[in-house]
């Protein structure tokens, strides 16, 4: 009997203990960034997506950059479609794809009227409220406006020309180069869209646009690009990437053909366009021709004067206008740039995308990329999209709608190459 009682006590003790042994086993788990909208086979590739580039990639619109324009940039759209968490107005700095967001109306605020140079919230070209708080713990979109190719990995190259956009090297990257910032992220996937700035400088120059000394030779560009890719090759965990080619700056609506000005002069009595503005030159190896090109910053002044009733003449022999030979040289150089980029992509079995093919498709719609800006207040696109709906108010950088097209082009190429099954963004 005594033995039975003791046994019961022992059993009772065990019964008390069992629930203890079954409890306290709930474990938390690691929560890496997950490209949840991507096929399982490709998901790990997009864990740490990093975007290298310049103003387009950074999200500069209409001559300005702020959190809204930055969040409309194609890398953010692409990351979102991948299923990565992206920042919004209530961000705590811990999204899965982070952007160094600029505070307030912008740095500087985007134009609201390109003709009057008015900017958002009454700001001007010097307005800056610095970065938004809290700053993110890491940054995926490491592009900065004004980045030339060499500036992806060096800020002290002898060929670097000081620019007001140099401030972004600090604002967006804290003095790190894009290669240094990318290395800190240990990327698994990269998009690289760089080189546009190198050629874009040739149409923004006020003294002698188109001059070949402004942009690197094809050989210099290829060597520098290879150097950049060699740096990227040192990253340990890259599983794939996309290299985008350089846009033909001569096709940007920021420059218009002399012929377009000639046509405009037919309805503006005070504007005279000399016959040398109608010159064209065949582009070697193609059936296409290059025109004399008038940069917006030069042509807009003349159009303003003529519109004000002041007799004005556009003479296309002046250095402020891009000659047909200069235009041909620029076009052929970009072709060579892109051949070099494509070769670098092929060497790594990465994707290469020629953005000019996309632009040519978009340009089929004359309201998308206008051959001549909407200088007339009576034009329905005058205030909102004077260069066409695909361009922002500066005539150089894509609009939000165009960024969607770029993102979709990337999605199509990534899906085809990597079987990623990323859903494209619906286009209205």
């Amino acid at each position: 009997m005594l033995r039975t009682h003791r046994l019961n006590r022992f059993v009772a003790g065990i019964l008390v203990a069992v629930p203890l042994l079954l409890s306290a086993c709930d474990k938390d788990s690691l929560e890496p960034p997950t490209a949840s909208s991507v096929s399982l086979d490709a998901r790990d590739m997009f864990t740490r997506y990093v975007a290298i580039g310049n103003s387009i990639t950074a999200g500069l619109h209409s001559g300005g950059i702020n959190d809204s324009t930055q969040l409309e940039a194609y890398p953010v759209l692409l990351a979102r479609q991948m299923g990565l968490d992206t920042p919004d107005e209530t961000t705590t700095g811990t999204s899965e794809f982070n952007v160094p967001l600029m505070a307030g109306p912008g740095c500087p605020p985007p134009y609201t009227n390109i003709f009057t140079q008015e900017r958002l919230a009454g700001g001007d070209a010097t307005t800056s409220l610095f970065r938004e708080l809290p700053i993110p713990t890491y940054v995926n979109n490491i592009a900065f406006p004004g980045a030339d190719l060499v500036e992806v990995f060096s800020y002290y190259d002898a060929g670097i020309v000081p620019s007001v956009t140099d401030v972004y090297k600090t604002f967006l990257l804290g003095g790190r180069t894009q290669i240094e910032a990318a290395r800190a992220m240990d990327p698994t996937f990269l998009t690289v869209w760089i080189g546009n700035g190198d050629m874009q400088d040739a149409i923004l120059a006020t003294a002698d646009p188109g001059n070949a000394s402004i942009y690197p030779t094809a050989g210099e560009f290829a060597a520098t690009y290879a150097q950049m890719m060699d740096s990227i090759d040192t990253f340990q965990n890259v599983e794939g990437g996309v290299l985008l080619g350089v846009i033909q700056a001569t096709a940007a609506p920021y420059v218009s053909s002399g012929g377009a000005y000639f046509l405009a002069s037919q309805t503006i009595p005070t504007l005279t366009v000399n016959a040398n503005c109608l010159a064209q030159q065949q582009i070697p190896g193609t059936t296409e021709s290059a025109s004399v090109l008038v940069p917006f910053h030069y042509g807009a002044v003349l159009m303003g004067m003529a519109g004000a009733g002041v007799p004005t003449t556009l003479d296309c022999s002046v250095p402020e206008v891009i000659s047909t030979q200069e235009a041909v040289d620029m076009i052929l150089t970009v072709v060579q740039y892109n051949a070099a980029i494509e070769a670098e992509a092929a060497e790594r079995d990465w994707i290469y995308i020629d953005p000019n093919e996309l632009l040519q498709q978009v340009a089929q719609d004359p309201t998308a990329i206008r051959p001549f800006p909407a200088f007339s207040p009576g034009d329905p696109q005058y205030l909102t999209e004077p260069f066409g709906w695909a361009l922002s108010l500066d005539g150089l950088h894509p609009s939000g709608r165009a960024h969607v097209l770029v993102a979709n082009a990337l999605i199509e190429a990534i899906n085809a190459k990597y079987g990623a099954a990323i859903n494209p963004i619906s286009v209205q």
Binding site: R9, F10, D26, D28, L30, P32, T94, I135, P162, G175
Partner: protein, 452 residues
């Protein structure tokens, strides 16, 4: 300034103050061990002890663990050296009913050490906190198997904390932070070392035990909270950022030299940040931390003449640790940290088997909840719910000498946590958790007991 002080968080309650109790899962409220440790586990337990009992020992805590980052999935390992935790007890049976004693134990403490390259170093990378309890105890045997006891605790505390300061959180002369002009998050520029001690404060420990039958004993004890006021020094030393901002940076622009690079270390050195009276000059620091009150209830079942089964339920009032206010001599505002700790409960099970007349074998298991809520799990103490298993042995060499040995394995459930400060102006949030902490420890206890 950067938010020095988040690492003042404490939580780890240490219960291993006697290898006999340790070997049986920390159970000791209803049936204390005879080594004098009942002064801690239930002061009533010393009632009825005969003659002198002197015991002393050490528990060596070998902790290991790490943090795996969600993003990079790289692991940083905890680099703790084994931490010795002492205990010592003296009791004297004044007569058959009355006994008195003196006890030394360290019921709250922590030590965490990470490499100073760990990203969590901005919350603390080399930290040590101890609260030493010196207790005078009296126990008395009442009729009908009831014992009561109590003691006064003289409590002393000390702490040392090291952390890096984050330049991105530091204000520039424009009012914007360095982070707002682009300096990356977690850019170290200074090391903060904080050392402080508290004066003695008084607390108490009460206990009651009841031998309800010849096979069932019940017990309970309660230790009061003690608020320790720490006073010490904070010393700051520069750490090179090695950042040179390229030409065109906003600082050079402000200085009228836009085409010149800006060496951040030169800029900081020119500010006199570390001179006497300056923001990061050596300065006094004050804070208060309350060591929480705790209570336990337990029962002991004599399953056979040789085997005793023991169960304890322990509660610790960690809710007293909701906010922490730190005063720095050279800072205009106090640092207020929200911790929101929660009460913890530990369920303990143990057995004590008198295998031979002079040999006892012991074992146990305990399930302990975590005090820190999900939003305040940090590198200082990556604390959480844990399971622990114990083994022990007691051996009597002769009537005068005996010793106890114990081993305990602590396995904490992996826990998500953060390696960054809460965002200025906001409370701590699980949104800031960015990885997974793991923690485990091997504990080795040895106690030598002398009866005479």
């Amino acid at each position: 300034m950067s938010r020095l002080g988040d690492s003042l968080t404490i939580s780890l309650s240490v219960n291993e103050h006697g290898s006999c109790v340790m070997g049986r899962g920390g159970t000791g409220v209803a049936r204390p061990c005879s080594d004098g440790s009942s002064q801690l586990f239930n002061p009533s337990g010393i009632a009825g002890m005969q003659g002198w009992t002197v015991s002393g020992g050490l528990t060596l805590i070998a902790a290991a663990g790490g943090f795996v980052d969600d993003l990079t999935q790289t692991k940083d390992e905890l680099k703790n050296d084994p931490i010795p935790v002492p205990h010592g007890y003296i009791t004297y049976g004044i007569n058959e009913r009355l006994a008195a004693g003196l006890a030394l134990f360290v019921p709250y403490g922590l030590g965490t050490k990470w490499l100073d390259t760990f990203d969590g170093r901005f919350l603390g990378y080399d930290n040590d906190l101890q609260s030493i309890y010196l207790q005078g105890t009296v126990g008395y045997q009442l009729p009908k198997g009831i014992k009561i006891g109590g003691g006064l605790n003289f409590v002393f505390g000390s702490l040392e904390l090291n952390q890096r300061l984050d330049l991105s959180q530091f204000a520039t002369s424009t009012g914007a932070t360095f982070g707002q002009i682009g300096i990356p998050f977690h850019t170290e520029f200074a090391n903060a070392n904080l050392k402080a001690n508290s004066g003695a404060k008084l607390g108490a420990n009460f206990g009651i035990g009841w031998d309800a039958t010849d096979w069932l004993s019940l017990g309970a004890r309660y230790i009061t909270s003690v608020k320790l006021d720490y006073e010490g020094t904070a010393q700051f030393d520069a750490v090179a950022t090695d950042i040179i901002l390229p030409p065109g940076n906003p600082i050079s622009v402000l200085l009228g030299t836009p085409d010149q690079p800006m060496d951040i270390d030169v800029l900081l050195a020119a500010q006199g940040l570390y001179s006497a009276g300056a923001v990061l000059g050596d300065q006094t620091v004050n804070t208060s931390i309350t060591m929480p009150d705790q209570g336990s209830i337990g029962l002991a079942l004599e399953a056979s003449p040789a085997v005793t089964l023991l169960f304890d339920l322990q509660w610790i009032n960690w809710t007293v640790f909701d906010t922490l206010v730190v005063e720095f001599e050279n800072q205009p505002d106090d640092l207020v940290l929200v911790e929101n700790y929660e009460d913890t409960y530990a369920l303990r099970f143990g057995f004590d088997w008198a295998a031979k007349e002079n040999l006892a074998l012991r074992g146990g298991y305990l399930d302990h909840a975590g005090a820190s809520p999900p939003e305040t799990v940090t590198p200082l103490l990556p604390e959480g719910s844990r399971n622990e298993f114990t083994l022990g042995v007691g051996y009597s060499i002769n009537d005068m000498f005996s010793f106890d040995l114990a081993y305990q394995y602590l396995k904490q459930n992996d826990r998500r946590g953060r390696i960054r400060d809460a965002i200025e102006g906001q409370g701590p949030s699980t949104d800031l958790n960015s990885g997974l902490y793991s923690f485990r420890a091997h504990l080795f206890g040895a106690t030598l007991v002398l009866h005479f």
